[in-house]
């Protein structure tokens, strides 16, 4: 009879163990979550679209219609010198002012609580990763950069309009991506220039607290694209710059000072 009892117990035990979903390990690790949000400012105020209320350093009055861009390889720098690449399998993130869902990036990684010194990321996509046809679906797909001009994807499209020195409101497409070296412009390209750059966010130290989700906003301060250290004048560079390395270079130098962070909570 004892044997019988043991067998019944065994039976129940097998049943319970067998049904238990994925058996998670028992040692409870301590971790925190991180969510990145993306926002746009001009002279410290939230950006208003489609209204010509802004004036840049060069004196161009302008409006912004839409902004679409990639950041990639976001790295959290810990105080102990450790660098953590976040969301390793989705290391390129697309942000679009017309698509709300792109403006929040919930990082799936379980991060170690503690103090972090700073955040850095690549503006655009590095040469090693910027391959044509890696995004087959919209909206990322529509960022493709033509093969002839270097291939891969636009780092950014910032589309707007400005009041030109001829007093007409003209469109500008402030598009950044791979630049070209021309033998004779606009034909015979002899080489390409990778314009992506690393952004080290100033004063971006933060603390991750156990079992909490930290929300950090990455803010794009539009006026700086046209101001610091180079004064960018739409009347000089005109409506399009994808084939104008000089203009893209000025813009990318300014790009180092465009992003700041804000700890939301």
């Amino acid at each position: 009879m004892k044997k019988f009892f043991i067998i019944i117990c065994l039976l129940i035990f097998t049943f319970i163990v067998g049904c238990k979903k994925n058996s998670e390990s028992d040692d409870v690790e301590k971790f925190s979550n991180l969510t990145l949000k993306f926002a746009y400012y001009n002279e410290g105020k939230l950006l208003e679209f489609d209204t010509i209320i802004y004036e840049n350093e060069a004196g161009n009055k302008y409006l912004v219609n839409e902004i679409q861009y990639f950041i990639s390889d976001v790295i959290l720098h810990k105080s102990n010198g450790e660098n953590i690449l976040i969301d390793e399998w989705k290391d390129i993130h697309y942000i679009d002012t017309d698509i709300l869902s792109t403006q929040t990036w919930k990082i799936p990684d379980k991060l170690t609580p503690g103090n972090y010194n700073s955040i850095s990321f690549t503006f655009g996509i590095s040469e090693a990763k910027n391959h044509s046809l890696m995004f087959l679906n919209p909206p990322e797909r529509d960022m493709f950069w033509p093969e002839y001009l270097g291939g891969g994807y636009h780092y950014m499209k910032l589309n707007g309009k400005w009041l030109s020195d001829e007093n007409t409101i003209n469109p500008f497409d402030f598009h950044l991506g791979i630049g070209q070296i021309y033998h004779s412009y606009p034909d015979s390209i002899t080489g390409f220039i990778q314009n992506y750059f690393e952004v080290n966010l100033p004063s971006s130290s933060f603390e991750l607290i156990e079992n909490q989700t930290k929300e950090i906003e990455i803010s794009m301060n539009i006026e700086n694209w046209f101001r610091n250290p180079n004064i960018y004048d739409h009347d000089v560079y005109g409506g399009d710059i994808m084939q104008n390395q000089e203009a893209m270079n000025l813009a990318c130098e300014n790009g180092h000072n465009v992003f700041t962070i804000k700890i939301i909570n």
Partner: protein, 387 residues
């Protein structure tokens, strides 16, 4: 005792299997064969197929009959038949064509003569459109009304619209129900011989989703199977450069072989879009965004040489006229899309040779396989044996 142990082990295993398996085993009434859409090279992988209308071989076959059968209009007199294919013709990329004797100049009208509000759109690669059907994107998942969201809905709309079949759905459904051969096909595709407008719509939508073009000369160039001529290559460079013809931001290229973003832009055709010039079917009347006055979908340029007249209102009869327009005749307005930055010079200012090359490139987007694919063509006989 050993037997008993073995038995209890087996029994517990059985218990585990039975109770852990959540899926209900339902009785299978009908089992249509799934229809797989193969994704061509470079094409998007995400398809716009509603959950309640999965693609099946039987559904597609039925949809093809219905697409071509004039009795879907609920009329059987030979003079008053109208089917989807009366206007949507395969040889013209499923538009009516500019030389169609029934629709002079390519301007379509309904069975009773009422003109369609805009000219036609092709039925091509629509399974990859996620941002709205029709020139203004009215039919989309964002539409608050459930009956206005996908290709299915354009079927019942086509049956009742005054500028199309101008009929009613009850007549349509009854006539198909009473046409021999159809009830069996509905049974195979949807599990019931009772025909509903919903199932008619589903079948036709499934057929339309199979209309895929991915074998133009340019596709073969992309896949490394064929070379473009020097003129075509130069046209390709013009198409995809800002200092050239600057078409790619809206109409695609190597990175977007659909040759449309399926998005909406004001491309600078007129100076006024409000007041007496307002078109109540432009994008603004869908999105409510003032920047969308006079904006329409940038259509695909695949097979474009066969789908004149051009623009939503058919204002241009030929591709040459379109190229002239983008080259020299853009018109400024506050609503012009920022991507039309060449407005500052009234256009992209192509030279005569560049215009020839650009056109030669656009013609590499013609897909003869698509235009003659027997799977897309009119069936020889309808289910009741009628021709």
């Amino acid at each position: 005792m050993k037997k008993f142990i073995l038995f209890s082990l087996a029994f517990s295993l059985l218990l585990i299997i039975t109770f852990c398996n959540k899926e209900k085993i339902t009785e299978i009434v009908h089992q249509p064969t799934p229809y797989e859409i193969e994704i061509p090279f470079g094409f998007p992988t995400v398809l716009n197929i509603p959950d309640d209308n999965p693609m099946t071989v039987e559904g597609v076959e039925l949809g093809r009959f219905l697409f071509y059968d004039g009795r879907v209009s609920g009329r059987s007199h030979p003079d008053s038949l109208m089917s989807c294919s009366t206007c949507h013709k395969q040889e013209n990329s499923f538009e009516c064509g500019i030389n169609n004797p029934d629709f002079p100049g390519g301007f379509t009208h309904g069975i009773a003569g009422k003109p369609t509000p805009h000219v036609m759109l092709p039925l091509i690669n629509l399974v990859w459109n996620h941002s709205g059907y029709l020139w203004n994107g009215f039919i989309s998942n964002e539409n608050p009304k459930e009956d206005y969201r996908n290709i299915e809905d354009l079927v019942w709309m086509g049956i009742i619209a005054e500028h199309e079949m101008f009929s009613d759905t009850v007549r349509a459904k009854n006539l198909i129900q009473n046409t021999s051969g159809y009830p069996e096909l509905f049974l195979k595709a949807f599990g019931s011989e009772t025909i509903t407008v919903k199932n008619i719509s589903k079948a036709i939508a499934q057929f339309i989703r199979t209309l895929i073009s991915a074998n133009s000369k340019f596709d073969r160039y992309m896949r490394g199977e064929e070379q473009l001529s020097p003129s075509e290559l130069n046209g390709f460079v013009l198409f995809t450069t800002e200092e050239g013809a600057d078409c790619f931001h809206c109409h695609g290229g190597y990175g977007n072989p659909l040759f449309t973003t399926n998005l909406f832009y004001n491309n600078g055709k007129d100076s006024s879009f409000t007041g007496e010039y307002e078109d109540f079917r432009d994008r603004f009347h869908i999105s409510g965004d003032p920047m969308d006055y006079g904006a329409y979908k940038a259509t695909t340029l695949r097979n474009i040489e066969l789908t004149g007249p051009y623009m939503h209102d058919g204002r241009f009869a030929t591709l040459d006229e379109v190229i002239e327009f983008y080259s020299h005749h853009l018109i400024w307005s506050p609503y012009i899309n920022p991507l039309m930055h060449h407005i500052a010079n009234n256009g992209v200012q192509l030279t005569p040779n560049e215009k020839i090359d650009l056109k030669a490139f656009i013609q590499t987007l013609r897909d003869d396989d698509f235009l003659t694919n027997p799977k897309f063509s009119k069936p020889e006989f309808f289910p009741d044996g009628m021709k």
